[in-house]
Subunit: 357 residues, 2 copies
């Protein structure tokens, strides 16, 4: 017997790498190419450090209120955590405690099975169709809970509100969590369904559309009773997950949401023209509604293109996994960055003798 | 059947209240009365907000290295989390997975049983002696892990390194976690024992001695293999618990540790004279090595004194719990704050007809 026999055995999630290369174009972790609102800067640079000696407001009430107003909800329908990963982890812990498996798509955010392993929950992966679309009837089976991203990651495909409503109707005995990390890039949020379905939790993040990956803030929205339970679990884990400074600057971001929307529009415009350019180069380009595209080329090996891009200082995401190993997930950066990407790929395809339009 | 049947049932931890009163003296949550180093201010107010759009360094490597140097350890012996509460929660999850109960003192940090409930671990509370001292032989029984604060909270009493070494020797099959949240206020850290015992984890916090309660940073120190396991569990929960800004300002704090030490010395001086004054007023004053004192008066009801202080705008901590309901935990504030406290209590005792020296 040893202390090592009492360790929890886990297969940890591997996040996208954060390489430091000269002149690198970083298109691998879906960060926003544009910084946060100028108001964020003003607030940050005028913070009185003496505040740091005091504990922050445990539930970030002021920020919570601003978000409730933004979403047209009551304050007690809003939960905040240290990035949407923490919000997801606490949501699994709070809502998915049945005996049946948790359901999520087989091609999806790779953290979901990791949470299940960590908390010793069983899960079943629902198979996507060959074109990566979700067959909503597959979610009509016994379960302890359902979770899927919308738009899905890494495919970028969007599910309609009607489809989500059907999943909610079919599963009123379970919590259905819709992970809207990328919803601000052109999708329609299902927050409006919260009034109709008490088994719905919507999770969003400040990391992508609000350029806050470095500041760590995630959000869960739902009915009052479910959110209260989430707070009970959070308060059994960590009383103060969101520091004082993050609360202040996130509030500035919410109060200047127009800035976020304009930057998202810029990213959407860039994404749409990149889709056309990649299709013209012969790529298969599922119709992404996120700040990335997920693409493959019939004549070029995914891993090989990934490595060629990397050698050229362009970092994208590639998984050596069945079903998606021919695909690359490419974050939408600035127009200049995408021009460099497209120029490199065009040249590379020519060198490889691939047929383009 | 309903989604409510799949909820995790918990009794959440209740943190010290954060009242907002005019002219209040806040001595209830052991915050540092002095702000962080001036270097922290300089760093904070010059941060480029454009950095926030990028994910932070997942393991806070630069900060981790600075702390390793500070403690005379290797980088891979240092773990960082979102406040020591998160570090504690992840440590329970990582190390306490046996079938036997987890052991901790019956009068101790009230979060420990909350973590056990949350993660469905059994626990047994080891009874302190009547003077609140720990009988180390009581930790010599089958267990899945041992945890205690040193100095203990809320008593403030310190266990010697010899006593800790004995507990470690008696429990080489379990992880022993020493929670040193208050160690910088005059106690001797047991970090030096890490070299000798691979079943030791030491947890510290930036909240108290480094005036970082509002910025959220906790630390675990231990052998390389144990720390790697803790990172695996953390990476199964949340990849990026420590935001970019906190990493930057915490680094500034570590690099100016002299400032922290001087402020701790000031607090210790204040504490020692307050102990004498309270004893002179007839209080029982266990010999606290923390930035608080835990005191009771033989002739005055604890709850009554708590409420009288509160009415006077002086907020301290009181638990309506068996064994400690006659005690108040009073944070050591500035000299001026403690003067006001002592003046009020002297007057109050006179009015109540209590005998003082």
């Amino acid at each position: 017997m040893s202390w090592k026999d009492k360790l929890r055995q886990v297969e940890p999630y591997v996040a996208g790498e954060q390489p430091k290369l000269e002149n690198m174009i970083k298109l691998n972790t879906n960060e926003n190419p544009y910084g946060p609102s100028e108001h964020v800067k003003t607030v940050l640079n005028s913070i009185d450090t003496d505040h740091i000696r005091l504990y922050p407001n445990s539930d970030a009430d002021e920020l919570r209120h601003a978000l409730a107003v933004y979403h047209g909800l009551d304050d007690d329908q809003v939960f905040l955590g240290n990035g949407s990963d923490e919000v997801l982890a606490l949501s699994f812990l709070t809502f998915f405690n049945g005996d049946d498996p948790v359901l999520f798509p087989n091609i999806s955010y790779s953290f979901y099975p990791v949470y299940c392993d960590l908390f010793k929950m069983s899960y079943r992966q629902v198979l996507l169709n060959e074109d990566f679309t979700i067959n909503i009837n597959d979610f009509h089976q016994s379960n302890s809970g359902i979770i899927f991203p919308n738009p899905n990651a890494p495919t970028g495909l969007l599910l309609s509100l009607d489809a989500i409503e059907q999943i909610l109707k079919n599963n009123q005995d379970s919590m259905v969590i819709v992970d809207e990390a990328y919803i601000d890039f052109g999708g329609q949020t299902c927050v409006s369904l919260i009034r109709k379905f008490e088994n719905l939790i919507v999770i969003q993040t400040f990391s992508k559309s609000r350029s806050f990956a470095g500041a760590r803030l995630g959000v869960a929205l739902g009915n009052k009773e479910a959110i209260a339970h989430l707070y009970d679990v959070k308060n059994s884990f960590n009383s103060y997950p969101i520091d004082y400074i993050t609360q202040q600057i996130a509030l500035a971001s919410v109060l200047d949401s127009q800035d976020m929307k304009e930057k998202c529009q810029r990213i959407i415009r860039t994404r749409e023209r990149v889709k056309v350019q990649l299709k013209d180069l012969g790529f298969i380009v599922p119709d992404s509604y996120a700040n990335f595209v997920f693409v493959s080329h019939p004549q070029i090996d995914g891993q090989q293109l990934f490595l060629a891009l990397r050698k050229a200082g362009i970092i994208v995401r590639h998984w050596q996994q069945p079903l998606i190993d021919q695909y690359l997930r490419i974050t939408i950066g600035t127009d200049e960055q995408m021009d460099r990407l497209i120029a490199f790929i065009s040249q590379y395809l020519k060198e490889q003798g691939a047929v383009t339009k």
